[in-house]
Amino acid sequence: MSRRFALASLLALALLALPLAAAADVETADVADALAEVRADLQAARLDRAIAALDVLAARAELSESERIEIFALRAQAKEATGALDGVEEDYRRILALEPGFEPDPASTGKRARERFEKARAALVGTLEIAVDPADAAILVDGRVLVPGGDGRARVLAGSRSVRIERKGFDPAEFVLDVPPGGSAPLRVDLVPNARTLVLRTEPEGVEVAIDDVVVGTTARPDAADPVVRATRPAELVLEAVPAGEHSLTLSRPCFRTVRIREIVAVDVLDRSAKVIGPVILQAARTPLEFREAPPAGELRVDGERVADFPSERPVELCAGERRIEVRSGGRTIWAETVDVPIGDPLTLDVRPRPNVVLVGAGRWPAELAALEGAWSTIAAVEVPAGADLATEEGWERVEIPVDADLAVAVLPRKGPAASDRFALRSPLLGTIAPFGTPPDPSRPRWTRADLGLQVVDAAGGGLVVVEVRPGGPAARASIVPGDRVRTVSGFAVPDRATWTRETAALPVGGEVSIEFVRDEAPQTASIAVEEAFRAGLVPADPLRRAVHAAWAAAVGAGGATEAAAAWIDLGVLLEQEGRAVPALAALRRSVWPARRGIGPGTVDYLVGRVLDAVGRDDEAREALARAAGSDARIHDDDGPEVAPAAADRLADLGVSR
């Protein structure tokens, strides 16, 4: 073989390989890209290459119908250019089988191709002449949607065709038609209605409508340019194609009584107009709110919205239903509860301040802690961060506790069937954690007691002896003197001081109580006014009780009622004992008292001085303690120890002699 022949053979092989390589590309190329290249080939008159690519493309199985039609149309165009008119006709047949209404592009279709197209159409396609009532009914031919032209005509494949006419609210109609090639097949259909449109009108607007318990929409006033007109028109909701038959319509809106309507929807073949219902007037449903005791000064929030300020001149009413009611005072929530507000009868609530509690590690209160749930305001339930050990301070630092929370109750993972400490009480105020199995007493501490202005002790031989009578106090006004021996209170025998304390503690302040006593061996009776005395500064030692006490103190203090000043003292003392001097001082300084005997400004001065002394703020401590030492205030109780001697002793520590 000569060298020249060998080179020529190699070139020929290369030329032969080019179309093969191009075909391989088209098999995998993006269809749109491949078609763009085909168009470029057609413009460049690379007809063989274009036809070869289109053949490969047409063989791909994943083509959409429109892609396939475009491929056939381009190939018909290419074949027309090569003069292969039979091939052109074959491609048009393929197109019409897919889309009987197809029209070739006149700009790229030559006369001979057009003729071949007409020939193919005359053999394959006929015309459907269709008239339907209602006109917007859907027409499906062999399951495919057919949209006739304005004259009601549409091309379809000749032969036996399955036609279905359907519309919501009408019974569907189905036919089989024989469409002649190149000819026409007429069809007129009047659908029979089976549903009706309802127009539901309500006053007020915004009423939620449910049909057969399925919410279908909300009424609204129709748009109108004139706002006056708009306001006077009733709100409405158009309900399309409500099936014939009996239906339940439920109309509801918060703060209104819910209305239920039974509606029978009938169908009139001749009258297809909408049926108007209403306007339905919904009656307002608001429940008067009453309080067991006068609420503290503050604001009332319902579902997060401020609805009243206390003290309020006007009565407070609530929308019926489940409501989140909050009372805020002193910059925080002091009472909160989710209440199912009934319709009609007044709702009576006791909104005296109580602690806010967060439930941690449980979505709802465990049954064992039901007493706690009822006594406090649950303001949140939070999850335990993964891996957080709630027996430790570090674990709690990862728990997001709301600002207003006075307590957090954690449900700890059960360690065993007999695990006694299943829960933990965290005091955000004190920074303490107390595990527990038996729930603490959640009840409210008392910062006041009934006061008769006398003190008694047990006599050695039995009975009670009056040992102190406060000058000017109720007992003094009733002429009781030390040495009198008390026999009864309100007719009940009081043989010892324990009984006396129990009987007098429950006396209503502001009333009077009858006392029988013996003086100089002669029985006597006196009526003594019951006044109020305070207790403050004597706090529990048990960690659980301390946490609960602090929570109550914070809530009651914020409530600003009679006991608030005493509650602040207790919170200050608890904080002081936990070594939290700064918040202790803040709490104590919120304890504001008028000038009075017993617990008062001097008590606060002593406690403030004590905290300041402990943290080394000697000058300030001296000032506070000097005021306390000059007062006749007491601590723990209005009749408790005097603070002046204790203050003087502290002053001596600070180098001040008195």
Binding site: V457, D458, A459, V467, P482, P641, A646, D649
Partner: protein, 490 residues
Amino acid sequence: MIDRRALLFVVGACVSWGAAAETGAPETARDALRLARRLASENAAGANDAFAKVVSIDPTGPLADDALVERALLRGLALWPEDLGRVGAPAWEEARGWLEGAASIPGADRATEARYLLALGRLEPLPGREADAARRAFLSIASEDAQGAWGPRARYTRGWLDRAEGADERARRAWTRVVADAPRSDAAERARLGLGALDLAAGRPGRAALWAQEVVEEGSPLARPAAALRAAALLDVGRGSTPPRGFRRAEPGASMARSVSALAAAADGGWLAADRREGVVLRFDREGRPSGRWTVEEPTALAVDPYGRVVLAAGERLFHLDDRGVRPLGDLGRFASASAVAADAAGRIFVLDKRGDRVGLLEPGAGAVAPLRDDRGTRLAGLAVIGGRLFGVASRGEGWIGLSGKGIEEPVAAVPAESVAGFCIDPAGRVVALDEKTGGVTVVSRSGAIVERFDAKGRGVEEPTLVACGADGSLALLDGKSGALWRVDP
């Protein structure tokens, strides 16, 4: 000659033992302390050595302070000032060393307790008592451990010391502070009792009764003295409107011969009587029933010190009487056949000669009574220590007088009596004087006010010759004619 291999073995064994002791010391010490505590709880003889072993195992370990403190407590140290006076000087000196050791261990958790016990021990009525050092220590502990248990105890004890020294207002301040700042502490309970005593002495019986009532309601061991204080206070509450005191003749067994020379109230609420002729000191319960006796020749004078210890002058010597028997304290010398004795919180014993003219003093640790003052012609009817100061009541004339130096000084109040046979100080700090001529009993306050007066003869006591004051305000009277003991209710 020592075998070389044997020497190497011994050295090796020592090294390995030392290493083991080092690593196992805490565990070993823990076991040893456990054993020592068990022995201590059983009052077993080996407890002392067992505690010593704990310290030897790990001298600076975490349990060494426990062992040292508890070893010291084995010596019967007082936990409260009222319990002082029960240890002798040798026991205290031993305990002191251990307590100082515990207090000096760095980071010892019982260091404060050791310091408190050390300070309290310095108040023991023993030679070398260091009241000022104790006061400084209590001030320091109270300040440093204000939130703990020992701070309030130290502050309470400081108040007790103030009271013992007559600084009642300082005591009131300290005790009020304890009650205000640590109201639930054991120290507060004692402080309440102390405040009650102060209020009673200050003429506020109602408040005193209330303090006492609070302590009674606590139900602690202090309930008994609190009940006594309350009874004493109630005597003053509404005085005049209450029925007259009840007089009860004690059981026949309590009848004594006419030779009884001294009568005193015991710390347990009962009574003590010294019968000179019979050479016996008799104990009675609060109702006057005999409950014990000591045999001592020629007992002439009797007193109970602030710690409840019985001090007796008999013949030429002074004695302490307790459950263990009769212990000599010192020689009376010129004060033999003393007519009265009195003791203070510092352990000092004052002695009145048989004529009632001269006062002698026996300092703790001294072997003999030394003359303190000579007031010839005064004829004191007895002696008493109130708030750390010595008082007497003259049989005639001068009445109630303070005796703190040479010569008669500081008249306190007149005591209206023709001839004071004897007197005692009641819980409110008042003189209860018995007039042997009239048989009248008069209660006189410091201000000279006659608080109470009654005729013992009119109530059945034929010839009252001696009187004693109970802690609950009750009185004991000895009928010199019948030898009967009478109890006068509070």
